[in-house]
């Protein structure tokens, strides 16, 4: 065994000196570099997003409770070396200059915020200053709106309960913003030590205690596990990925885009390695046959060549990992300004993943070549036409495909996405096979009518039918991946970002009473404020599913879904909202209109494990309302429109007490209008969600620019793969060109016939790639990213044309010497 390893190593060294290994080594390095760099970068972005969402909470974890959190809990956190900060939230009236304003009071200790900063300024529209802690005792910070509501300026005193406090700054940003949804009033930040002296907090006061927690992730997990079973219904613990449906949704989508990009790069790498390994095998048939002739047994052959692959793999994967690390470091540096902060270092696990994935891919895709080398008949040394056994190659390649799918899944963690990419590729492969067979048949038909270079070019395609089919498959799949990446960057991402236009709603208005709906509409219209609509909202709790009490349904150790613990916002509507899409069932029509049906949001339906036809009973204002599910909707939570888990047809729950909700966009200069709204409609509540929106926008931008870099990388890898795919067949072509030149073919004749062949090959591969791209993107658009799918006409027009030019250019590079050299030299050269 050791001898074979040594011999393998020696032969490898000699192959290396002779320049035989460049293609395989290069393909592997590219593969591992792209896998690790993208993997590392995604990890980094992931960390950024988590950090930012942590920033959103002001901590990694937030424990929320209406009662004081026990010292046992805090002690346990401290024992785990976790940091804690305390805040107390309540509503109270602030008095100043005889103005009264109900406000959200947030009292914080000196440790708050554990993550990120509070931002303040010295005048309403002045420059922001970052602060690491809240106001000192005796001082308060107020959001800009309070200044005009109370008619005060910086340095004035406000009255809070029995206490006078000095306004020392304008509060511009509070990292615990996630909770702005629960606050129904403008915010005041104060020192927790001042709370007692205000005298506001009395037994029976409605308070929300919050403890922010940061520290090592493993310790946080331990803490969460310890605490979760101890929480009662009114307490909850929120992690980085919770907080807001909109941010969650954006983060999920962002990760999916990145995973998709990484998956495509893995696939491209697989193709590169498959081509290179196949070529490596073919180049070593004679060597293997000769060794068999000299008495090497099959096991010796396998061991010798596996040793070579192992050594080659370890070296290439090592280099790939280093390059991958370096390149993502460079990207991170380039993107530093963009992220407005230093990217957190990535964990090193993607390096390990890239290394192992590279080796696995190498061996999976080299397996067919290895087995062929092993089974090579020694008689090949006497008869060159003998080819090694090609038994059950489908099975072996099937195995290789399974392996690459496994790696794609492992690297991305997205099963559905992996399956879709796989199905698309298989469909593309099948289409490719059928079309290429058809084309060869057509070529045969039209061949007799042709002459000159066209004839020779076409003849080449027919003669090397099998090889051409394989080559077209490799080219088609690689081009498909390039087109997909291009489409993701330039179409999918754009459409995702366009869903959140510049003037997406940044304010929600809730608690609108029935008789205020029209006046508010008129008010908004008068002030040129656009709104998408005013929707009714009725509070209701799910109590039964298919007649069975939900408590009975969930006894089997299953946790009660959050949605069952609280009241949901139910709404009614005759037509479906623009950002909602029916994914199964139908919207109400004449027959179903006004009947007890509901439309349910897909995520909720999935969590509750219910489907069309199931009936749900709600408790609405102490009455039971039952309705069966007529359709399931996907909801675009990051659209910042009012959205509902449950929608009834008009006429079922209209009689219950309802309030209305709306959303609109207001630029920062027009914020003053908020005061007018509140003065005119004192009972409504306006929620400002600019921070959440900025958060979502920043996630979109980060993902978009990351994919831009990934695209460049994949493009580079793609061209290398294309070149490798071309090179593998180039020798045969060069040889026939030489023979033709020897027989007197002119250079221009050969050039034209080459051009014909490669232009056609490029165009057809491009066309097949477009077909594959459309198939995959159909699934991506409709099933994963919930976007409308339309055929990409520009892609059909320019895709094949562009690839045709690309392939011709690559072929010109490879055949550049052939027409220059004299036939004798070329004959020797080959």
């Amino acid at each position: 065994m050791l001898n074979e390893f040594r011999l393998g190593a020696r032969l490898l060294k000699r192959d290396w000196t002779a320049g035989e290994l460049k293609v395989l080594l290069f393909a592997l390095i590219i593969a591992v570099t792209s896998m690790t760099s993208i993997g590392l970068f995604i990890k980094r972005i992931d960390n950024v997003m988590l950090d930012q969402s942590g920033e959103f909470l002001g901590a990694n974890l937030v424990l929320q409770s209406p009662k004081k959190i026990s010292s046992e809990t805090i002690d346990y956190a401290h024992n785990l070396n976790l940091n804690t900060s305390h805040s107390l939230n309540f509503s109270s009236v602030i008095v100043a200059n005889n103005n009264f304003q109900l406000s959200h009071i947030k009292a914080v200790d000196k440790h708050y915020p554990l993550l990120s900063h509070i931002k303040t300024s010295n005048d309403l529209y002045g420059n922001e200053t970052q602060r690491n802690s809240g106001p000192i005792a005796g001082e308060v910070w107020l959001v800009p709106r309070l200044f005009s509501l109370l008619d005060i300026k910086l340095g004035d005193t406000i009255e809070l309960g029995e206490r006078l406090l000095t306004v020392s700054a304008v509060l511009k940003h509070d990292p615990g913003q996630a909770f702005s949804f629960m606050s129904i009033a403008p915010k005041l930040l104060m020192n927790i030590n001042d709370v007692e002296s205000t005298g506001i907090v009395q037994p029976g006061s409605r308070l929300t205690y919050m403890v922010g927690i940061t520290g090592k992730k493993s310790n946080r997990t331990t803490f969460e596990k310890w605490l979760s079973p101890k929480l009662n219904a009114s307490q909850k613990i929120m992690g980085g990925t919770e907080g807001s449906e909109a941010v969650n949704s954006a983060m999920e989508k962002g990760k999916q885009y990145l995973s998709l990009a990484s998956m495509l790069s893995v696939m491209l790498s697989g193709i590169a390695i498959a081509i290179a390994a196949n070529r490596y095998g073919e180049r070593h048939y004679n060597q293997a046959a000769l060794m068999r002739c000299m008495g090497a047994q099959q096991k010796n052959i396998i061991r010798i060549f596996s040793s070579q692959l192992l050594i080659l793999g370890v070296i290439a994967c090592g280099i790939g990992c280093l390059l991958g690390y370096a390149s993502q470091q460079i990207i991170a540096t380039l993107l530093k300004d963009f992220f407005n902060s230093t990217l957190p270092a990535a964990s090193l696990s993607p390096l390990f993943n890239g290394f192992i994935s590279g080796l696995i891919t190498l061996f999976c895709f080299s397996l067919p070549s290895l087995l062929r080398l092993k089974s090579i008949p020694p008689l090949k040394v006497l008869r060159d036409d003998l080819a090694p056994l090609s038994l059950s190659l489908w099975f072996i390649y099937g195995l290789a495909i399974l392996c690459i799918v496994g790696i794609m899944w492992w690297q991305s963690g997205e099963l559905q996405l992996t399956i879709m990419v796989l199905l698309g590729s298989i469909a593309c492969g099948a289409a490719l096979f059928i079309i290429s067979t058809l084309l060869v048949a057509i070529s045969k038909l039209i061949l007799p009518g042709l002459s000159g270079p066209w004839k020779i070019g076409l003849q080449q395609i027919i003669r090397h039918k099998k090889q051409n089919q394989l080559q077209m498959l490799a080219l088609g799949l690689s081009l498909m991946i390039l087109m997909l990446i291009f489409l993701i960057r330039n179409d999918l991402m754009m459409r995702w970002q366009n869903q959140l236009p510049e003037q997406a709603p940044n304010h929600f208005v809730i608690n609108i009473q029935n008789d205020e709906v029209e006046p508010i509409k008129t008010f908004l219209q008068k002030n040129n404020i656009k709104t998408e609509g005013v929707y009714p909202m009725v509070r209701g709790r799910i109590i039964k599913i298919n007649g069975v009490d939900i408590l009975d349904r969930t006894t089997n150790n299953k946790k009660l879904d959050q949605s069952l613990k609280r009241e949901l916002n139910l709404s009614w509507n005759n037509s479906i909202q623009a950002n909602n899409q029916i994914i199964s069932g139908t919207w109400w029509n004449k027959d179903t209109q006004g009947k007890p049906y509901i439309s349910i949001e897909s995520g909720l339906a999935k969590r509750l494990n219910i489907d069309i036809g199931d009936s749900i009973t709600f408790n609405v204002a102490d009455q039971e309302v039952s309705a069966s599910i007529l359709n399931i909707r996907s909801v675009q939570w990051d659209s910042f429109q009012p959205n509902f888990f449950i929608i009834f047809p008009d006429g079922i729950i209209n009689d219950f007490p309802a309030t209305y909700i709306s959303s609109f966009y207001l630029s920062s200069e027009n914020k003053q209008l908020l005061n007018n709204i509140i003065i005119k409609f004192p009972t409504i509540t306006v929620l400002e969600i600019d921070d959440i929106m900025n958060q979502v926008k920043s996630i979109m931008q980060q993902v978009s620019s990351t994919i831009g870099y990934v695209m460049l990388f994949v493009l580079f890898a793609g061209i290398v793969v294309l070149a490798a795919a071309m090179q593998s067949s180039m020798e045969v072509r060069i040889q026939s060109a030489v023979i033709m030149r020897t027989l007197g073919a002119r250079k221009s004749f050969l050039q034209r016939s080459h051009l014909t062949e490669f232009a056609l090959l490029g165009y057809l591969s491009g066309l097949l790639a477009v077909i594959g791209t459309e198939i995959i993107s159909y699934f991506l658009y409709t099933k994963i990213f919930s976007l409308n799918f339309e055929l990409h006409f520009m892609l059909w027009l320019y895709g094949p044309l562009f690839t045709s030019i690309l392939i011709v250019l690559i072929s010109l590079f490879y055949t550049r010497d052939i027409t220059k050299l004299s036939p004798t030299k070329v004959l020797r050269y080959t």
């Binding site: 035989e20 060794m291 000299m294 008495g295 047994q297 020694p378 008689l379 040394v381 006497l382």
Partner: protein, 236 residues
């Protein structure tokens, strides 16, 4: 058939059929129809015949590179017809050397490395020194670090001869060793081959259509219609 004790190769009623190119009619083509042959130790034998007569097929079978349809081949009294391919491989590594028409040198290896290869496969430590000695013997010591591409056809075949002798085989099979060489070069290669053969007392089996080469051999057989007969009988 009676076999003499000093026979290295004994062939009994060897039959080789291959499927017809047009596989639809399930027909078989007879290449060898019943070859009987005995080759003595140290003997040199030429097998001649027209192109496509089955010479190379016979050589492949004798060397255990291919399976016969029927019949037995004994090498050093071991019946290779009943052996598995791996068993035959291990027999080849001990007893058999090859020289090919197209030299079959590995392009990525230098002359020296090509000669070393058979010994390296057997993990012998003296590979490099033995190979250098042999390259000196074939007059290519100065070119040992050259790649096949940098060598002329005659030089390449001399490297191949050195490689064939390095394992000190009992039998040497040569398939048209001068087929790709001009007359003078071919003659030089023949002289070298026979000199080295004599020195090491190897049994030499040459397949060729070069009659000059055939005359150098102790015995000459011609393959015609799937069977062997004496060259002289055919010529007469």
């Amino acid at each position: 058939m009676q076999t003499t004790s000093d026979a290295v190769i004994v062939v009994k009623n060897l039959i080789k059929q291959v499927p017809a190119v047009n596989k639809l009619d399930n027909q078989q083509i007879d290449i060898l129809t019943g070859v009987n042959l005995e080759i003595k130790h140290g003997e040199s034998l030429a097998i001649i015949g027209a192109s496509g007569s089955g010479k190379s097929t016979l050589l492949g079978l004798l060397a255990g590179l291919d399976d016969a349809t029927n019949g037995d081949i004994l090498i050093d009294q071991q019946n290779i017809s009943v052996m598995t391919e791996d068993e035959r491989a291990s027999l080849r590594s001990e007893k058999v050397g090859f020289i090919f028409q197209s030299f079959q040198l590995l392009p990525s290896l230098t002359a020296l490395e090509n000669v070393m290869l058979p010994m390296e496969l057997q993990s012998k430590k003296t590979a490099a020194t033995d190979a250098q000695q042999l390259l000196q013997r074939v007059g290519l010591k100065d070119r040992q670090h050259h790649y096949p591409k940098q060598l002329s056809g005659g030089e390449q075949q001399r490297v191949a001869i050195a490689r064939a002798f390095i394992t000190q085989p009992t039998i040497l099979f040569a398939d048209e060793p001068t087929g790709n060489l001009d007359k003078t070069t071919g003659q030089n290669v023949i002289d070298l081959l026979f000199n080295m053969n004599r020195e090491s007392n190897t049994t030499l089996v040459i397949v060729t259509h070069d009659e000059v080469l055939a005359k150098h051999c102790d015995r000459c057989l011609v393959l015609q219609n799937g069977t062997l007969s004496d060259c002289e009988q055919v010529n007469a």
